[in-house]
């Protein structure tokens, strides 16, 4: 009986180890997926704010030039109403992607909760108790060992791994059922974030160009103006901000591409632990950047 149990347990151990590794992949991926979606939500908010600020800045410049003649070259009332409508429409469009990231976050959280289901310890304890009861029935089993471990310890582990196997099966079934849907959504999100990255860079460029013009170039072009430390500080801030402001969106777009690839690799069973470690590092950077997002500064109409 002990020998038969040893063979069954050894087989379960091998299958269980593979299942545990697979469950851990799901768990790590789900955590990265869920947290990255939260960061995406914040970034979309920032992109919407940058879009409005940049549009306002463009309106200010256009208005200043259009009113050089009397009457102005445009109907200002008509222009501001049309611009407001267009900006509201764009903000609403961006909100749809925030809803998507929220839905994906919920999905990955549920996936992670299933993968991380903490019933193993309880089940292992139950299994050990079962073996203890069996030992009472069969005294031979009591003395049986597998290597240095008693049968009770070993069977406990095997049952725990069997649970991992059941969980892996449940997760694989989930992947077969909804994998295409999630892959499609991640692909759409990747395309969206790539586009958003280009737009946000342009918005920040508009804002920083205006700051550069009003805070740095115009004072410099005026010989009567004395330039000192404040001008140097302004110049440094504007020039440095121009290269760092769009960083969160760039990182989000890059991580989104990786998440999409990682999900395909997960589905095909070729996701490596080192890949997950890299994604986790990328995510850490993205979360830090998302938390650092500060409200945009506008130069306004200074002329």
């Amino acid at each position: 009986m002990a020998r038969a149990l040893l063979i069954i347990s050894a087989t379960a151990l091998l299958a269980g180890c593979a299942s545990t590794a697979r469950v851990n992949q799901f768990r790590a991926f789900a955590e990265i997926g869920s947290r990255s979606q939260v960061a995406v939500g914040k970034i979309v908010d920032e992109a919407a704010a940058a879009n409005i600020d940049a549009d306002s800045q463009r309106l200010i410049t256009a208005r200043r030039l259009a009113t050089k003649t009397t009457p102005p070259s445009v109907d200002l009332t008509k222009e501001i109403i049309a611009s407001n409508k267009a900006v509201v429409a764009q903000t609403e469009a961006l909100a749809a992607f925030k809803r998507q990231s929220s839905l994906l976050s919920d999905y990955f959280s549920s996936l992670g909760a299933l993968a991380a289901f903490d019933g193993d310890s309880g089940i292992t304890d139950s299994a050990k108790s079962t073996v203890t009861a069996l030992e009472t029935i069969s005294p031979k089993l009591k003395g049986a060992t597998i290597g240095d471990a008693s049968v009770a310890d070993f069977v406990g582990t095997a049952v725990s791994l069997a649970v991992a196997h059941f969980k892996a099966q449940a997760l694989e079934r989930e992947l077969r059922k909804n994998g295409v849907l999630i892959e499609r959504q991640l692909d759409l999100q990747r395309a969206f974030l790539d586009a958003l990255n280009e737009d946000v860079m342009s918005d920040y460029k508009t804002l920083s160009e205006q700051q550069l013009l009003e805070g740095v170039i115009r004072p410099f072009m005026t010989p009567q103006t004395t330039l000192g430390a404040p001008w140097m500080t302004e110049r440094r801030e504007v020039l440095l901000a121009a290269s760092t402001q769009a960083k969160p969106v760039q990182e989000a777009a890059a991580l989104s591409r990786k998440l999409h690839s990682a999900f395909i690799a997960l589905a095909e069973g070729r996701l490596q632990p080192e890949d997950l470690a890299l994604y986790a590092a990328d995510l850490g950077r993205l979360v830090t950047l998302a938390e650092m997002i500060a409200p945009s500064k506008s130069a306004g109409d200074q002329q």
């Binding site: 549009d55 463009r58 256009a62 030039l65 259009a66 009113t67 050089k68 102005p72 070259s73 445009v74 222009e79 049309a82 611009s83 267009a86 429409a89 764009q90 469009a93 961006l94 749809a96 992607f97 809803r99 998507q100 839905l103 999905y107 959280s109 549920s110 909760a113 299933l114 289901f117 019933g119 309880g122 089940i123 139950s126 299994a127 108790s129 203890t132 009861a133 069996l134 030992e135 009472t136 029935i137 649970v163 449940a170 989930e174 909804n178 849907l181 999630i182 499609r184 692909d187 759409l188 395309a191 586009a195 280009e198 737009d199 342009s202 508009t206 160009e209 205006q210 550069l212 013009l213």
Partner: protein, 117 residues
């Protein structure tokens, strides 16, 4: 579905990119300084052009997002259902523990009976 949506999106984004480049150019510090050297009528004409480009850019950005936004909306219910299905599986696993506990308790009783015999 998403491939079609992405193709349409990419095509529309090409127009967005053109408008964005034009906008960036018009609002660059060098261009604004250059325009300000022109006669008032020409400056006013540039102002009119800036309003038009800015509005077209904003509208085109929203229009470009439409195909992928629709694809997202179509799948929203399914993602929600997928998350709900996962939660159901989790509850199924939570049911395993009491069943094993019950079986264990039963075996313990049997063990005691056998030991007594």
């Amino acid at each position: 579905m998403s491939e079609d949506a992405l193709t349409t999106f990419a095509r529309k984004r090409f127009i967005v990119a053109t408008l964005r480049d034009l906008n960036d150019c018009l609002h660059s510090a060098e261009m604004v300084i250059g325009i300000e050297q022109l006669p008032d009528e020409d400056q006013a004409a540039f102002g009119k052009l800036m309003f038009a480009v800015s509005l077209s850019y904003q509208k085109m950005k929203t229009a470009a997002l439409d195909p992928i936004r629709n694809a997202i909306d179509e799948d929203a219910g399914e993602i929600d259902a997928a998350a709900a299905s996962l939660n159901t599986r989790l509850h199924d696993f939570e049911k395993i523990k009491p069943i094993l506990d019950g079986a264990t308790a039963f075996l313990k009783v049997i063990g005691r009976i056998v030991a007594l015999v």
